[in-house]
Symmetry: C2
Subunit: 369 residues, 2 copies
Amino acid sequence: MLALLLAEGPLSRVELARRTGLSSTAVTKAARPLLDDGYLHELPPERTAPGAGRPVNPLAVTADREFFAGVKISADALYGAVCDLRAGMRATAGRPLGDDRGPAAVGALLHELVDELLDKRPEFRDRTRHLGIAVSGDVDRTAGRVRYSVLPGWRDVPLAETTARATGLSVVVENDVKALTAAEHWFGEGIGAEYFALVTIGAGIGSGLVVNGRLIAGAYGVAGEMGHIAIDPAGPRCHCGQVGCVEAIASTGAVLAAVRTGTGRQDLDFDAAVRLAREGDPVARPVFARAGRAIGTGIAILVNLLGPERVVVTGEGLETYDLFGEHIKDAYAAHCFKAAARCPLTLRPLPWEEWARGAAVLGIEALFP
Amino acid sequence: MLALLLAEGPLSRVELARRTGLSSTAVTKAARPLLDDGYLHELPPERTAPGAGRPVNPLAVTADREFFAGVKISADALYGAVCDLRAGMRATAGRPLGDDRGPAAVGALLHELVDELLDKRPEFRDRTRHLGIAVSGDVDRTAGRVRYSVLPGWRDVPLAETTARATGLSVVVENDVKALTAAEHWFGEGIGAEYFALVTIGAGIGSGLVVNGRLIAGAYGVAGEMGHIAIDPAGPRCHCGQVGCVEAIASTGAVLAAVRTGTGRQDLDFDAAVRLAREGDPVARPVFARAGRAIGTGIAILVNLLGPERVVVTGEGLETYDLFGEHIKDAYAAHCFKAAARCPLTLRPLPWEEWARGAAVLGIEALFP
């Protein structure tokens, strides 16, 4: 019921009962403590049509009842946001990482960043109890530990515990793609979808999967690792130890490495590789095309196994979409099994702040388990 | 509650309440109509310990209250079974397909087979209302249609409707691997697992996936198609139109074709190819090894995306397990992402009758939706 109000509210109790399948008594009963605690409020009565009975007071979420901090840890920076109860972005801030990417140094910066965010408004400081942290790789959310993350290069870091001690906030740590998927499922493209997938492309490649309305966590904490499915035995070796992973072919790092090797120019950076490809360079262009095919094949595999209703493709990799978009779509169409091909791909740009919003939504979920 | 009794019964009402999280009033209330209809019965009272209060009457499923027919349509035969309410196999029968594999001819044989099964015992005829049919390929269970099945070579066949008309039974048609997975989840290795996968290898390769305790159906009716995920751009073309599917490398047909091509002996049948490989033939042996690697890679991809608690590998392909078992395991270990590797593979032989039992369980599920 709350998820519905958070995503779509305000709604009348009658409408809520209809949409959730609960009795109106149950809705009234469930709403009572939330009204008392200030999470919900009643809007002024509205009479929908003449003679339609007594006026109804729609229920609405009190967005600023509580605030939620979120931080995304990326390879070279921290991105932070404060959101309200409806995941509305109220403030953002960022901080570049220093040379020391170890857990202690990054933890200190993270603490500073959270302080900066909460200091922006007195009500943030007063009414923020939850901090969500999103980081790439293998995260044990229950234990609050980062088991393995290649971007900052960590292994088995008890991030929730140390950050909770430093900030005094209740901390949830989650894989960044899973956090973003949950945010999209509660507040974005995934609202109401029983089967939904979000794929991110860029420095890392991953996916978050919603099945039967719930985010898949995996029995051992690993799920949705689309970047680490092996699609080419003749492909390059991946940092994860496998050969021919999607990420080893199609991450920005993998694309840059292949362009450098192919052109013999080790001095190129990613932007230069993009420029070469856009100019039609006979080495650089096929590297992007191959990356696109790998991504399209990976998404088709995901769709053949999971059967989502729709797939959202996002991430900073979309900035070079002109170079591989058609290859993603062609490979996707070629590798979908029969009716699975009816699942649409939606491409959506994703500013860095959205990752931080995804992290903040972890706190909203923690409030309403 | 019924699922628990079906899988594990008999249990006392107190025990049922504890296991399901329902109140004992709710258990008593839910049990009443089932007792009245004869699906449950009370066992004689047992006093668990001296002074442990008034004696309890455990509840048990009345296995022969109703019977369920199931038929698996394979490439060259029909396999049928009658099961009781606890999926106990009570009778089996089979029938080879004739030269005509069209829906009308196969439908007539199927009707004959069901008659033969129900004629085996008067109570089967009296107390069988449901028939489950399992067939490989793309099945629209809701519409009762086989959209595409390569084994009998069908496209868009309204099998549920025609069979219901012919037999007078309520008919459910489902993908064979999904039916088997549901049977395993309700009555076998999958009992109680939140995340569970069953992989079948043989003439076809597929998988059934249980997430959050429910079988994944896919938003467009396609899910678990492990046989049709593309793992090698340099691999052979598949009957589904893709290149490099697991099934195009590792099905019995694909293995036979590769051995024939490699040896130049088009006269070989599958048994002869197996014999060659067991004798260490330098062409045949690597073909089986490659098939094993493809299967292991496919399972690892599934595990990296879905994160099951355990995977059961079964199917008639296991008869040649000696030729590729180690390759399955090696490729699986090499391609699992981090903690996903903790997911155990269990290998289990599967007699043909088990497929028919899987089909019969479709009827049990239909009884308790």
